[in-house]
Amino acid sequence: MKMLTFAKRNFKEIIRDPLNLCFGLGFPIVLILLLSAIQANIPVELFEIGHLTPGIVVFGFSFMTLFSATLISKDRGSSLLQRLYTTPLTPLDFILGYTLPIIPIAVAQGIICYVFAMILGLEVTLNILLAIAFSIPISILFISLGLLFGSILNDKQVGGICGALLTNLSAWLSGTWFDLELVGGVFKKIAYSLTFVHAVEMERAALLGDISGIFPHIWWVLGYAVVSLTAAVMLFLRQMKKQ
């Protein structure tokens, strides 16, 4: 109950920010429309709607990192957290309260992307539901990165690291905008040692209903999610003690 009250507050703070709605929901839709228009004029396999949409969904989740990191860093800067630390809320309440409310926002973002994709010609199958379900662990990964960055950076730094660096990393190293095979070499090795491309390939496999294709990518996603969530919890607790 106490945690849910705090989670509700965080949900409201995020969805009431027009910039969040604009970037979180609007930007991925614009990208789907734009790249589909390119695909219509110059057919590229990479930008076929069934291939493109999972990548856009994963890219859209990088905004969830921005949302959660911004909220936490602003709370830290405004003394609101200091006030709440003197209430009966436990450390677990804080961590869940910052994490849980962003999951439905991420799922809604994913649904909206797939709805737009269906309008643009994506075949309507039950696999879309599977893809949405598999997007949840990916969203937790991105949300935990937000908890991590929000615990150590101020809101201006969050804008730079999460708003610019992470969104670019998740775009360039995900294989959404260009085929990583075309670059190859060290770039491809780095991309495959990170989680973004695995998240996209897992999402693509889910959309095709290819359960075996989800592996081994899901292990990469879950592994990174566990590591980043653990690091986030430790750093959040550390800053809590510092208060």
């Binding site: 109950m1 106490k2 849910l4 009250t5 705090f6 509700k8 507050r9 409201k12 703070e13 009431r16 920010d17 405004s78 003394s79 609101l80 200091q82 006030r83 709440l84 630390y85 003197t86 209430t87 009966p88 809320l89 208060q243």
Partner: protein
């Protein structure tokens, strides 16, 4: 029973002693002010007493509960209005109050009762639907105090509650703080001498983490040999007393 009993409280930050063997006692219902120049240790003392910071040495007992061993019990009887205005800017005044009721686990009926009571006491009724982030500094401070009071604390910490407010807003807040006297034990930190003199039952003056004096405003003036409280404060801090 004392509301607060502080025994040899010390806080070290590397080579800086923020609070140095502080010992004092505050009675229930008392309005107690902590004064001192910047870095005197006022805010650190409040942070320790409100379980935000662990002391390096010593202990304090709030209504008999140890801040070291019973921090959960302590948190259930205190409330803090921090130095900076601590409100959720994207929520309305009502939603901010609901947030505090929720994190204290109030039932729906109690929540409604407390919101009605606090909005009346603090004059927030007309702005209850407005976003907290859009309010003036004075109204945000009122809301901040309402958020602290809504949990029915036995002990309330007000850390520089009138900092940066204009004269009228400050006067209004003084009236609110006076209205709480006797019902809640209030620990106030301030840089405004007239605020401490006007509101407090007793005043403690700190310097470099040490307690220099703890008495009524009248007695402090007497000790310093002056009728002016600000002059008395300056003399005591400079060690320039008779």
């Amino acid at each position: 029973m004392s509301a607060i009993r502080i025994e040899g409280l010390t806080k070290l930050y590397r080579d800086v002693t923020a609070v140095d063997k502080l010992s004092l006692s505050i009675e229930e219902g008392e309005l107690f002010s902590l004064l001192g120049v910047n870095g005197a240790g006022k805010t650190t003392t409040i942070k320790i007493l409100s379980c935000l910071t662990v002391p390096t040495e010593g202990d304090a007992y709030l209504l008999g509960k140890s801040i070291r061993r019973e921090s959960s019990a302590v948190k259930s009887i205190i409330a803090v209005s921090p130095q900076e205005t601590a409100v959720a800017s994207g929520l309305s005044v009502r939603e901010n109050l609901e947030l505090m009721c929720g994190v204290h686990g109030f039932s729906r009926d109690k929540r409604e009762e407390k919101i009605k009571e606090l909005t009346e006491i603090l004059g927030l009724k007309d702005i209850i639907g407005r976003k907290a982030g859009k309010l003036s500094g004075g109204w945000q401070r009122r809301l901040s105090i309402a958020m602290a009071l809504i949990s029915e604390p036995k002990i309330l910490f007000l850390d520089e509650p009138t900092l940066g407010l204009d004269v009228l807003a400050r006067s209004d807040l003084w009236d609110i703080i006076r209205s709480l006297k006797g019902r809640v034990t209030i620990i106030l930190t301030t840089h405004y001498m007239e605020e401490a003199e006007s509101l407090s039952d007793r005043i403690a003056i700190m310097k470099d983490g040490k307690l220099l004096i703890c008495d009524t405003a009248e007695k402090i003036k007497e000790v310093a040999g002056t009728d002016n409280f600000e002059a008395a404060f300056v003399r005591i801090v400079r060690g320039d007393t008779k």
